[in-house]
């Protein structure tokens, strides 16, 4: 089956996490995973494994790539296809960013092991959307999940 590379196909209200208040990387990642569990996107039984893989990846080099953005990601067997969570932390998170700045937008990507090609395409597409500073600014001040979805939808069409 050919999987979609439309971000919006993997994003709904349950994959958007607003007003994240955690201060550091480990707490934020754990918080996002708990959020995904509460929305039944992943299971509690798999949290430990997913958390471990995400942290291992961060230890190899921070995924906070500058411009207030982090793209924590892992390929895991327990995830079906693709799971994305777009988390917004208006006050910023210390994510060991390469430009030393705090991170406000965390786009967490989990893909199934067999989806290596799709994983890279998704990372690329997230980067295409998030390299637009105006879009990032709008996301930072978005008040509702509906606002975020509308912004992503518009941006997806603009960069496609």
């Amino acid at each position: 089956m050919i999987m979609s590379t439309n971000i919006i196909d993997y994003l709904d209200k349950d994959s958007i996490c607003l007003e994240v208040k955690r201060k550091n990387k480990r707490n934020v990642i754990s918080h996002i995973l708990d959020y995904l569990i509460s929305k039944k996107k992943i299971t509690q039984a798999n949290k430990k494994e997913i958390n471990k893989l995400l942290i291992q990846r961060e230890e190899m080099g921070s995924t906070a790539i500058g411009g207030c953005i982090a793209l924590p990601h892992a390929r895991v067997n327990s995830v079906k296809d693709i799971v994305i969570c777009l988390a917004i932390a208006p006050e910023g998170v210390d994510f060991d960013s390469l430009d030393q700045e705090k991170v406000n937008i965390i786009a967490l990507l989990l893909s199934n092991q067999k989806e290596a090609g799709l994983h890279l395409k998704m990372l690329a597409f997230l980067a295409r959307m998030l390299r637009d500073k105006y879009f990032v600014q709008q996301l930072k001040i978005a008040k509702t999940k509906e606002d975020v979805l509308a912004l992503v939808n518009k941006q997806q069409q603009a960069v496609r």
Binding site: I65, G66, G67, A124
Partner: protein, 88 residues
């Protein structure tokens, strides 16, 4: 100021995903020259991780590197080697 362009076939087995993109940028920043990467019709700043990631460079992708500056020959040689040899 020297300007050099080269076409490169990327040999990184997983493509230029986040970690190799960060390493590429780290390497690119050791040079004063401006470094641009072009894939298909899109050209981006080779010193920005998010810009490089956005190109979605796979193993086997053909990219054009455009380097301009006083250390352009050294920069293009080093970065070309990185893209052609890196296999993580």
């Amino acid at each position: 100021m020297e300007r050099i362009e080269k076409e490169i076939v990327v040999s990184n087995i997983h493509g230029l995903h986040a970690r190799p993109a960060a390493l590429f940028v780290q390497l690119a920043n050791q040079f004063d020259s401006s470094i641009m990467l072009k894939k298909d019709s899109e050209m981006v700043d080779g010193k920005s991780i998010i810009a490089i990631l956005s190109l979605g460079i796979n193993n086997g992708s053909v990219v054009r590197m455009i380097v301009e500056g006083n250390d352009a020959p050294q920069a293009i040689e080093r970065l070309k080697r990185f893209l052609e040899e890196s296999n993580d």
